[in-house]
């Protein structure tokens, strides 16, 4: 617990200082933080609760669209629309979960692809709702306390706050009743029921929380892009990337998804500027390497080794 809080403190300290040290590498840092936040949110459901969703881009899109349309059509400030998006995402997650939580394992994952793809088609085709295929611009934003929300520095701090908030929530949850309920349901639903846990309710709560948090990050992403198109922001590829980030980093660990974001986004950026056309190929090879040599993800594997070492020591002593 203390360790994690120190970790969070380090993240915040480094984060607060970052724009002053690297004022010209903010966009990539924003990507890392957003993916850290999304992957950590995803992990509440996918890692801690064991329900692998491949549809989280829906919530990113939801957040981005709430902010963009709220601003451009109704003049609503992003903090209001982000709160609305989070509430709406939770409601969507509730119904989505009600519909699909009777499915287990790969069937659940496949169903999330289907639901997300249907939502993508709705977002593209229902022009009255989303502005349609041609996308939406965010041309103006309010300036709270004179802060220009279009500046990368302001956006960086928003992304930092988002990632830190999500990680803090996971730290809080991991030690408490809900955190154990999540893991118990992941490990064995019957055994969880024998401990008095309602598996469906637990999964629904996890899905709703995960969805709401993801959509807040989506709202920030909308501001960063300032121009969003439905087929890009609702894309299956984005859903897959979010899941990938968490799994590569280490499912069901507090820092795994964030480490995954750092590694994947960082490596992606490095490969992009170094290998030109071959960059995605190298990226694919990186994924294979992690899967083959760190099957539990980077942090997952480290944590496991740590626990084993600790236990071995105690058994000796």
């Amino acid at each position: 617990m203390i360790k994690h809080l120190i970790g969070l403190g380090v993240l915040l300290a480094v984060g607060i200082a970052y724009p002053a040290i690297f004022p010209n590498n903010l966009t990539i840092a924003i990507s890392v933080l957003l993916f850290a936040g999304w992957a950590t949110s995803w992990d509440l459901l996918g890692g801690w609760n064991g329900q692998v969703s491949l549809g989280h881009a829906s919530f990113v899109g939801l957040g981005a669209y709430f902010v963009a349309i709220g601003q451009s059509q109704f003049g609503l400030a992003p903090w209001w629309t982000m709160a609305m998006a989070a509430a709406f995402a939770a409601v969507l997650g509730y119904f989505w979960g009600q519909l699909t939580f009777s499915l287990r394992g790969p069937y659940f994952s496949l169903s999330t692809i289907a639901v997300a793809e249907i939502l993508r088609l709705v977002a593209i085709n229902e022009e009255w709702l989303t502005g349609g295929a041609t996308g939406v611009f965010i041309a103006t934003l309010p300036e709270p306390f004179g802060i220009d929300l279009f500046s990368r520095t302001a956006q960086f701090y928003m992304a930092l706050a988002f990632a830190a908030m999500v990680i803090a929530i996971v730290i809080a949850i991991s030690r408490g009743r809900f955190g154990y309920q999540l893991r118990a349901v992941r490990e064995d639903e019957d055994s969880a029921m024998a401990s008095g846990i309602d598996p469906t309710a637990t999964k629904l709560k996890a899905f709703m929380l995960s969805a709401a948090l993801t959509s807040i990050g989506g709202g920030i992403y909308g501001i960063v892009l300032a121009f969003i198109e439905p087929h890009v922001i609702f894309a299956l590829l984005l859903s897959v990337q979010i899941a990938l980030t968490a799994i590569i980093g280490g499912r069901g660990t507090i820092w795994g998804p964030a480490v995954g974001a750092l590694v994947l986004v960082g490596a992606g950026e490095m490969f992009r500027t170094t290998f030109a056309e071959a960059n995605m190929l190298i990226y694919g090879i990186l994924i294979l390497v992690v899967v083959l040599f760190l099957p539990r993800g980077i942090v997952g594997e480290l944590a496991r080794r740590h626990i084993r070492r600790l236990y071995a020591k105690r058994a000796q002593g």
Partner: protein
């Protein structure tokens, strides 16, 4: 003895097959009820039906005069059921302590409180020194005890033990028998499915014998073991 648990006319069907047919039982606090029968007699099915893990065709279940027939398994747990699984089902990725914490959180609101409760139960079953070991690494006897610890940590009024003696070596078996007796001494109602006759005879206040889903005999351990139908059921069909 006042009834803690009553089950009347329990019938379970899978497709066209009747796995349990019109079986009733009742149990008072501090009482130990043994459920025996040859393989495939429907013991575990009855067990699962009563605890809510298998759907019932008909029947009625009450816990402390409250009708719980239609409640899902986790709600029965919350009202006072604790159970073990025949093949142990620890949460493998969690440590021993965390396994019990999951159950302890049912009644404990705060982490510290839950931890105290869990450690207490682990002491009781003799796993306290293993608290921080991954559950995956336990041997069979310790996995059994972990199952028991999980069942006890929900602070049950009735505890359902599904073949917890099977496969234990003689010293471990003695320990387990003593432990179950201590549970009933604490006032817990115990329903146990068991193949080890030694344990049944020694522990049970009352025994129900199932064969092919039917209750064929009921009484004290002594009565049922001398019942001809029971002998026939064990020797004849199995």
């Amino acid at each position: 003895m006042p009834n803690v648990l009553r089950a009347d006319g329990i019938t379970v069907k899978f497709g066209g097959v009747t796995a349990v047919n019109n079986v009733s039982l009742s149990l008072g606090s501090g009482e130990i009820l043994g459920l025996i029968g040859p393989n495939g007699a429907g013991k575990t099915t009855l067990f699962n039906a009563v605890t809510g893990f298998a759907p019932m065709h008909s029947g009625r279940i009450t816990l402390l005069d409250k009708d719980i027939t239609t409640l899902p398994a986790f709600k029965r747990t919350r009202l006072g059921f604790g159970r073990t699984f025949q093949t142990e089902r620890p949460f493998e990725e969690l440590t021993v302590l965390e396994n019990v914490l999951v159950a302890a959180f049912l009644t404990a609101g705060r982490r510290s409180e839950a931890e105290r409760l869990a450690m207490g139960v682990l002491e009781q079953v003799g796993l306290a020194d293993r608290a921080h070991q991954p559950a995956l690494d336990l041997n069979l006897a310790r996995r059994r005890r972990l199952e028991l610890a999980k069942a006890l940590a929900v602070k049950p009024k009735v505890i359902f033990l599904d073949e917890i003696m099977a496969g234990l070596n003689p010293p471990a078996l003695r320990e387990m028998i003593a432990f179950v007796r201590s549970l009933s001494a604490q006032g817990l109602a115990v329903l146990m499915v068991e193949h080890i006759m030694e344990a049944i005879i020694e522990l049970s206040d009352h025994v129900i014998v199932l064969a092919s889903g039917e209750k064929i005999a009921e009484g004290t351990p002594h009565q049922v073991t001398s019942d001809e139908r029971v002998i026939e059921a064990y020797l004849g069909t199995d």
